[in-house]
């Protein structure tokens, strides 16, 4: 491929996380090849995180943390009640004074950040370090895409970050079926979609405790993760699948200090007997019964176009060209769901290189692109706060469907982006050269109007604001 600065810039914005200094020049001789090369890197998708706890460890630590806090609260409550009794009716002031003496001054020391919040921020930091430090960021974009496809919610579980590291990252360039198995069997997913509450009505536990099914996980696997909505499955398929998934739960933390919070197949809660799901019969082989259904769903002909459409919609256009979706779906089917092969098909498809920047960057993509542009790592609390403001709170989608990939969903946040760009620029721009940054990030894409708006800005902060808000920077 000939030197093509425009294609290089497009590659970095459309498939990556935005150019860092020198990035366009670095891949200008072969933008497609550079994207492919990132897929071939050893350990692509993985992050080195020796200090982050596994899902099980995080679960157990938070359990202990909560137990201790409850105990402390109780002691404190007793103290207060005693103080109030002591003060009697002598006046509220004394009681208040006793109370405030009892309370240590609030500080903002890092060790005072509650454990669940600390884990969340550490996981967030690791995720954004990987994104900001990536050469192109294509594989990180794939991680974000699949993490959103198989989303969980950090309000429901402390495991949102570790889930992404354990169930998504190892498989983004592997087989779809493997990611599917890893995601649906992960404690975070089982908690988020209530499968830990689902008990086979005819199982030992179901009979003894008068408990029954929760269909949430089974339905979302069919509707969101594999076949897609209205692809032909019935309510009976959902119910039967839910029965098969009974017994997929997590070990109790209170009674199991070594493995509490980890996955366990609980035969006692598993609905006995064979089930029929989407045209296949599954004998009761225990845990393997569920694995067998997931394996069949992964290779079901409806799954390929569902997944292909989502991938094309995310990277290329709200309404992706049918030819592109067909290419991706065919590649998915031909390779039995080899995600690296499907991704390669995306990069090599001519439809993927339309010169028009059709999509608006999602908030996290835009924030990371801004940080990469100015060569900073950003403060993680600010990054997380920015995402909240822009309607894409980290690991907190409003529903299991995940965050939207339609432009319409993100267009309205433009005003908030301006506020954030302005604030960010006020903080950092004085020590930078916005014109050089513009050249290094959108140089080959920039319209004459955008160039002039940056060139004529009255101050460096205003120039940087104009760059971050330029259509060429907001879109990809």
């Amino acid at each position: 491929m000939a030197r093509d600065a425009r294609a290089a810039a497009l590659a970095l914005h459309r498939f990556g996380l935005g150019p860092r200094a020198g990035a366009i020049e670095a891949i200008v001789s072969d933008p497609q090849g550079a994207l492919m090369a990132e897929l071939d890197r050893p350990d692509a998708g993985l992050v080195a995180t020796p200090d982050l706890p596994s899902s099980g460890a995080a679960n157990r630590a938070v359990f202990e943390f909560n137990a201790e806090r409850n105990a402390k609260d109780k002691v404190e409550r007793r103290r207060r009640e005693a103080a109030q009794k002591l003060a009697g009716n002598a006046g509220m002031e004394n009681a208040m004074a006793a109370q405030s003496e009892a309370q240590p001054a609030t500080t903002e020391q890092p060790d005072q950040v509650p454990l669940p919040r600390r884990i969340f921020l550490d996981e967030a930091r690791a995720r954004f370090d990987a994104a900001i430090g990536a050469e192109i960021g294509f594989v990180e974009r794939l991680v974000w895409f699949w993490s959103n496809h198989f989303c969980v919610n950090a309000d429901a579980t402390v495991m949102a970050g570790s889930y992404e590291r354990e169930a998504i990252r190892p498989y983004v360039l592997g087989r779809f079926a493997d990611m599917l198995q890893a995601a649906e069997g992960h404690p975070a997913m089982l908690v988020y979609l209530n499968n830990v509450l689902s008990i086979g009505p005819a199982s030992v536990a179901g009979i003894n405790r008068d408990k029954g099914l929760n269909e949430n996980l089974a339905r979302e696997i069919l509707e969101l993760h594999t076949l897609g909505v209205r692809s032909g499955y019935s309510q009976a398929d959902v119910t039967n699948f839910a029965k098969i998934l009974t017994g997929w739960t997590i070990r109790e933390t209170v009674s199991d200090p070594d493995h509490g919070g980890e996955f366990v197949f609980l035969r006692r809660a598993h609905e006995p007997g064979p089930e029929r799901v989407v045209g296949h019969d599954y004998p009761d082989t225990g845990l393997d019964q569920g694995h067998a259904v997931l394996a069949d769903l992964a290779r079901h002909p409806a799954t390929a176009p569902h997944v292909a459409t989502k991938l094309a919609r995310h990277f290329i256009a709200d309404e992706p060209p049918a030819t592109l979706v067909d290419r991706l779906a065919s590649r998915f089917l031909e390779t039995e769901g080899d995600l690296k092969e499907m991704t390669r098909a995306l990069v090599s498809a001519p439809e993927s290189w339309a010169p028009q920047q059709a999509k608006i960057k999602r908030p996290a993509e835009w924030i990371v692109a801004a940080l990469r542009a100015v060569g900073r790592n950003g403060d993680i609390q600010r990054i997380v706060g920015g995402l909240n403001l822009l309607g894409e709170p980290l690991w907190r989608p409003a529903a299991p469907k995940g965050f939207s990939d339609d432009d319409a969903a993100w267009l309205d946040g433009l005003g908030q982006r301006l506020d954030i760009a302005n604030t960010f620029a006020q903080r950092v721009a004085d020590q930078l050269d916005p014109r050089a940054i513009a050249e290094a990030t959108i140089g080959p894409l920039a319209s004459a109007e955008t160039r002039s708006a940056i060139e004529r800005a009255e101050s460096k902060p205003q120039a940087l604001t104009m760059l971050l808000m330029a259509p060429e920077f907001l879109r990809r």
Partner: protein
């Protein structure tokens, strides 16, 4: 985003302020004279139209030049007379009052040594104090403080400097330690920025243009209910009207600087930057955007005066900008980047009540490049006079380290009372 790690948060600073300021005292020579000088520099970024602030109403060519876009003593909103030649923008009654009290001094037809017209390079020269643009990472004000420390005329901690805002302006950066304070709110997105962006979107991205217009409209409606609401005056619907926020920010930022400088144990030298002066379109010097901004600046000056309290007689505020604007109004009722402009100084330490200017005239032949007010005074000579006589920075340092290669630019005498 990491930059603010360098700047203590407001809360952290207030908590620790007594400790941080205790040892910071003043230039020894000045103190020996029984003075305790304060010096606050306000950088007006964007290129202030000096002719719209201090107008040469006595120049026979003035009316032809600016017409009803220019200030006039008999205008719809009459300009405020300064002497028999100059008049002040009517949006600045506080500064006028201070001038009448002999505590404000304006220098006109003044420029830095920079003769091109790029904001970035112009600001670089203005703040670095170097003769030309370049990669300087220190500013003249900081180097002046270092000089105070090194020649023994000040105690070891006297060099402590103070900056207001999210980032320390270049003028204040350098070897002398800088303490910075962040106002509780950041400068709002200026109308100027929003309008420029909207203009860009209208030419390049209609979808974005529509959303931004809506956003600006909503913001204006939200503000309309506020205390700062002004009666509708038939101005266009896309007037962003963010001036209330700007007024608040200017007054808070400048007022806070004054509070710190006024403290007996506080820093003595501070700097902040106020943006928004690049008036290419619909300048509105008499009534409109520039008038509003100057009103906000007038409020900031008043806030400094108030918050300085007893320290006001020891105070000098310098309001400086990177360059002036074209003498003529352009095709969009605005002005483009120019050369000479006015610098404004206020404070009880000044021998004020006068406009210092070697007036070059306004005829086409008198203009620089036939378009801009011609510079006849070098800003460095004014600043050197102030730094020498107010802070007692020695002259050798002034012409070597503070304003390098400026030996031939002599300090102006007699600026102080």
């Amino acid at each position: 985003m990491q930059a603010d790690l360098l700047a203590p948060t407001r809360r952290a600073l207030l908590r620790g302020s007594s400790a941080l300021f205790t040892a910071a005292y003043l230039p020894r020579l000045a103190r020996a004279e029984g003075r305790d000088p304060r010096f606050l520099t306000i950088v007006l970024r964007g290129g202030l139209d000096g002719l719209a602030v201090v107008a040469p109403v006595g120049d026979p060519d003035w009316r032809t030049l600016r017409g009803d876009k220019g200030l006039a003593l008999d205008g719809q909103i009459p300009a405020l007379p300064l002497d028999d030649f100059f008049a002040l923008n009517p949006s600045m009654p506080n500064l006028h009052r201070i001038y009448r009290a002999g505590q404000a001094l304006f220098v006109h037809a003044m420029a830095t040594p920079y003769r091109e017209r790029s904001h970035f390079d112009g600001q670089d020269v203005l703040e670095s104090g170097l003769p030309g643009p370049g990669a300087s990472d220190t500013g003249w004000l900081n180097r002046a403080l270092s000089a105070l420390a090194s020649d023994g005329s000040a105690a070891a901690r006297a060099q402590q400097a103070f900056a207001i805002g999210p980032i320390t302006p270049l003028v204040m950066r350098g070897p002398a330690p800088v303490l910075s304070w962040m106002p509780p709110r950041l400068p709002p997105v200026s109308d100027e920025t929003a309008m420029r962006l909207l203009d860009l979107y209208r030419h390049t991205d209609p979808a974005f243009a529509g959303v931004l217009e809506e956003h600006i409209g909503i913001a204006a409606i939200a503000r309309a209910g506020g205390m700062d609401a002004k009666p509708a005056d038939g101005s266009p619907a896309v007037q962003t009207g963010g001036i209330a926020q700007v007024r608040t920010y200017f007054a808070e930022a400048a007022g806070a600087a004054a509070k710190f400088l006024a403290r007996p144990d506080g820093p003595r030298v501070g700097a902040l930057a106020l943006d928004g002066w690049d008036t290419h379109v619909n300048e509105g010097a008499v009534k409109g955007r520039l008038a509003d901004l100057l009103g906000a600046l007038d409020g900031a000056i008043a806030a400094v005066e108030t918050n300085m309290g007893d320290a006001w007689p020891d105070t000098v505020i310098a309001l400086v900008t990177e360059f002036g604007r074209t003498a003529h109004i352009n095709g969009n009722d605005g002005t483009d980047h120019g050369t000479a402009t006015a610098a404004l100084f206020a404070g009880g330490a000044l021998k004020g009540g006068r406009v210092v200017a070697d007036w070059p005239g306004l005829k086409d032949a008198d203009l620089h490049d036939k378009r801009d007010l011609k510079p006849t005074t070098d800003l460095r000579s004014v600043l050197k006079g102030l730094l020498r006589d107010h802070l007692r920075v020695d002259e050798h340092h002034l012409e070597t380290t503070v304003f390098p290669d400026s030996a031939t630019t002599r300090p102006i005498e007699g600026l102080l009372a």
